[in-house]
């Protein structure tokens, strides 16, 4: 709550300095506004920026580093016996101190050391928040005063304000790069640690996946095997089923809508199909697990087949349904980009509509369609919730769609949900899988975008 009061105060200070700056400019100009270099409000913005930006930096860095620094001081104050503890236990002690200090609750009896440390923690916290208050308000006021003094008739306030805004815009635009960099580095870094424990070849080529590692050294049957081939196979199986559903249905729907359907049908059914794309994947997962899977199991058993209740088929079909609008909107773009003259030419030669579509339009639109399908494949591979809810956990190496298989994304979720320790290969394996997933989808996307772009230039 304190921080909100502080932020509110600082915001108010910034607003006030805007008005003060504008007022100052008018005073300096002596009411002769055209004499000013910039419009009066730019002097206001100039002063507000001088007040707001330093304060913003202080507050953000405080929020980022305060807890770490306070924890460091508290830990240093603990008796030597604690300093010898391993990191994890030290963290537990620290948690205990923080809980005691914050809410006055403890798990069990708090030792006197911890109680003293909690008191110290509270003291440091109080000092630190007081310091933040004083520091940020002084800095804001100081910045504003500095700017106030610098306001002159000839001062180029607009240029300075605009340069600051431009810098802000540039910084925002680099976030996309930093996100990619963050993904690559975080995944790569943890994956490297995993590959120090498990060789890359074992991971990429091994046929057995059972990531449970033994908790006790004498435990039987959970040595931990990290051969990811069954996961890749399972992912490919489910994606293949999904594409078998999505590509024909999506493509034929697009062809029908763009070439045959009347405008009324088109304008009504297109948004309806788009709804399929807007439904959250968790809803599809629920639908797959509770409606489609029992249905398929029932049909299979009436035919005398043994069907797993978490069959790859159910997850694949529902995933296919999800991807239909994706395939259809991407191929729609490609088909609509084919010039009308090509159609007219084919009709003039006596081709029927379907012959025109099959022999002229689809070949012309093929790069775009292929790009779209690749994007859809990448989407199917990365899809998570449907498979988490409807596919199995056991890593079976099988091509039978009626059996249960597991996928890369399912394993990432199961390995990372719940408590984790970041030095066991079990947790790190998720990042290695994430690296593979990212690399594969990135490659598919790059190829797809390349194909689509290359094709687009044909008719322009």
């Amino acid at each position: 709550m304190q921080i909100f009061v502080l932020l509110l105060t600082l915001a108010a200070m910034t607003v006030i300095s805007f008005y003060l700056g504008r007022q100052r400019a008018l005073t300096v100009a002596g009411g002769n506004i055209p004499a000013l270099n910039s419009l009066p409000s730019y002097y206001g913005y100039y002063m507000a920026l001088w007040c707001g930006i330093p304060v913003l930096f202080i507050v953000i860095s405080w929020l980022l580093f305060e807890s770490a620094i306070v924890a460091g001081i508290v830990v240093a104050s603990l008796p030597d016996a604690f300093a010898a503890l391993p990191d994890q236990q030290l963290n537990l002690v620290l948690n205990e101190i923080v809980n005691l200090a914050r809410d006055n609750v403890t798990a069990g009896q708090a030792s006197s050391d911890i109680a003293t440390a909690a008191q110290l923690y509270n003291q440091i916290k109080a000092v630190s928040s007081g310091l933040l208050f004083v520091l940020s308000i002084t800095l804001g006021a100081g910045g504003a005063a500095f700017a106030w003094n610098r306001i002159r008739v000839q001062q180029r306030a607009r240029n300075k304000v605009e340069r600051t805004v431009l810098i802000f815009l540039m910084v925002c635009s680099t976030i996309a790069i930093f996100t990619t960099l963050g993904i690559v580095l975080s995944v790569l870094f943890e994956a490297m640690r995993f590959f120090q424990m498990v060789p890359v070849a074992d991971f990429l080529l091994g046929l057995e996946w059972s990531p449970q590692t033994a908790i006790r050294s004498d435990q039987v049957g959970s040595s931990g095997a990290f051969g990811a081939v069954p996961l890749f196979a399972g992912t490919m199986l489910i994606s293949a089923i999904a594409m078998t559903v999505a590509v024909p249905v999506g493509l034929m729907t697009t062809i029908y809508l763009s070439e045959y359907a009347s405008p009324a049908v088109r304008s009504r059914s297109k948004p309806l199909l788009e709804i399929l794309a807007g439904i959250p994947t968790v809803v599809y997962g629920f639908f797959a697990a509770l409606t489609v899977a029992p249905l398929i199991r029932g049909w299979g058993e009436s035919l005398g087949l043994s069907v797993s209740s978490e069959s790859a088929l159910a997850a694949g079909i529902v995933m296919g349904i999800m991807i239909i609008p994706f395939v259809s909107s991407l191929s729609d773009d490609a088909i609509n980009a084919v010039p009308q003259s090509l159609r007219d030419g084919a009709y003039a030669l006596g081709a029927t509509q379907s012959e025109t579509i099959k022999k002229v339009i689809i070949p012309a639109a093929l790069p775009g369609i292929a790009g779209g399908i690749l994007l859809a494949v990448s989407r199917a591979i990365g899809e998570t919730m449907i498979v988490v809810m409807a596919a199995g956990l056991a890593a079976n190496l099988t091509a039978n769609p009626l059996e249960s298989v597991t996928t890369v994304t399912v394993q990432i979720v199961t390995l990372l949900v719940g408590d984790q320790e970041f030095d066991s290969p079990k947790t790190l394996a998720a990042f290695a899988l994430g690296l593979v997933l990212f690399a594969v989808t990135l490659t598919l996307n790059v190829i797809a975008l390349y194909i689509v772009r290359k094709y687009r230039e044909q008719y322009e």
Partner: protein
């Protein structure tokens, strides 16, 4: 074809001979297309039908009317009406006593336990809240509707069949007899399920509600919105209006396009490694969820905003520059206001995506079982889709209808957001 053309038939005859087959192929192709369209629409209908038919019953809940005597001896022996004492008193025993009075014939301990199973645990909390709100109740006797247990609820809604053998049914024969008696006395009825909209998660289906998850979603989305809208618009403005064509701006563009297609779970890995491990933000907090969703929705918002900026004709810019506006003034006072409707539309669509997103939030620990309603972005929370995921995993039959009902609420929000985007586009967007 060429070979045969040298034969006795003329070209026209050969074309005519093939016509019937070609027309058949044409019809077949056309019907396949129609069939695909219908198939797609059927999937949509089946999906909606299955969700709604499973879920509409969750908006009602079975209640049992009990005659409760708020016993002074039990609740407030000291007579001081002390808040602390009243809130820790044994309200469960009031419910049990009232059930025993209603069915005096039930004497054996085992049967009594069966009897108590008819009423939800929540009944005791309900009585407590009543007493804390109005301490005049103490010593009185009044008729109170309390929630029935989930098994009774399932029976009344027809999900537990009476015809099944007793051993395979979750309710015993004798419990059915008691329920019939309650029903003939008019003390068993379905009422609107307000708890579903006002309470947090619970292990008991009859007490579980979506309000906690909804609050979590609102907090998470407000973090995502306050960050992604300004950043997205700023990026779009920079790339569209200021950036020189260079390697650097190409790199940014390629990055944005690729990020739009990166699987959402990878953003979850990023959030886990960077925000939670490296920066040690609190786990399960809407703050982290909002940050991850910001990164995820940014490409959508940037791409939509750039399209909106591009749709503003250059004449607007030229006119503004012509009367002496600076580049920055042109963009912020003339181009941006005209592009804003398109940007808002893109942002709403991005937020709708974020609202339905589950996978990355699982990674950063928003799957915890959280009963309390979160009130700030630093408290542990869960969001609506994750709540759906959690309930879908629960074994109780009664959670199926609640999951479906939660899905209906989620879909309602999504449809409302998308409709808003469409209306906004129709109303505000200008064609040049």
């Amino acid at each position: 074809m060429n070979k045969r053309s040298k034969g006795k038939h003329s070209a026209a005859e050969r074309i005519n001979a093939g016509l019937a087959r070609r027309r058949a192929v044409e019809r077949l192709f056309r019907y396949t297309g129609l069939l695909s369209l219908l198939l797609g629409l059927t999937f949509l209908c089946v999906l909606f039908f299955s969700i709604i038919s499973k879920g509409y019953t969750a908006f009602q809940q079975t209640f049992i009317q009990l005659e409760i005597h708020f016993d002074e001896q039990k609740l407030d022996p000291s007579g001081e009406k002390d808040y602390e004492a009243l809130s820790t008193a044994d309200y469960g025993s009031l419910v049990k006593k009232s059930l025993r009075t209603a069915f005096p014939a039930v004497t054996s301990r085992q049967e009594q336990r069966r009897l108590y199973e008819l009423v939800s645990f929540g009944a005791a909390y309900q009585l407590r809240d009543m007493v804390l709100a109005d301490s005049a109740l103490i010593g009185q006797t009044s008729r109170v509707w309390v929630p029935a247990s989930d098994d009774v609820d399932m029976l009344v809604k027809g999900h537990i069949k009476r015809g099944v053998v007793e051993a395979e049914r979750r309710l015993r024969d004798i419990q059915l007899v008691w329920l019939d008696k309650l029903e003939t006395e008019g003390r068993l009825s379905l009422k609107f399920n307000t708890a579903f909209f006002t309470s947090g998660d619970s292990r008991e289906p009859e007490l579980a509600g979506i309000w906690g998850a909804l609050m979590g979603s609102i907090l998470t989305l407000s973090v995502a919105l306050t960050l992604s809208f300004p950043i997205g618009v700023a990026t779009a403005i920079y790339l569209e209006e200021f950036a020189p064509r260079s390697r650097w701006s190409d790199l940014i563009e390629v990055n944005i396009n690729n990020l739009a297609a990166v699987p959402s779970i990878v953003f979850g890995l990023l959030g886990l490694a960077v925000f939670i491990n490296f920066m040690s933000f609190p786990r399960s907090a809407p703050l982290v969820g909002g940050l991850v969703l910001t990164l995820m929705t940014l490409p959508t918002i940037i791409i939509a905003s750039r399209a909106a900026l591009r749709a503003v004709p250059p004449s607007i810019r030229e006119a503004a520059l012509g009367v002496g506006a600076s580049k920055m003034q042109t963009v912020f006072f003339h181009v941006l206001p005209l592009a804003l409707p398109g940007m808002l539309t893109g942002t709403i669509i991005g937020m709708a995506q974020a609202l339905g997103e589950t996978a990355p939030l699982l990674m950063i620990g928003m799957v915890a079982f959280i009963v309390d309603i979160p009130s700030s972005i630093f408290e542990p929370a869960t969001v609506l889709p994750v709540q759906i995921f959690l309930w879908a995993d629960s074994p109780e039959r009664a959670f199926i209808e609640r999951t479906s009902a939660a899905i209906m609420v989620l879909l309602g929000f999504l449809i409302a957001m998308n409709a808003l985007a469409v209306i906004l586009r129709k109303k505000l967007e200008r064609r040049w």
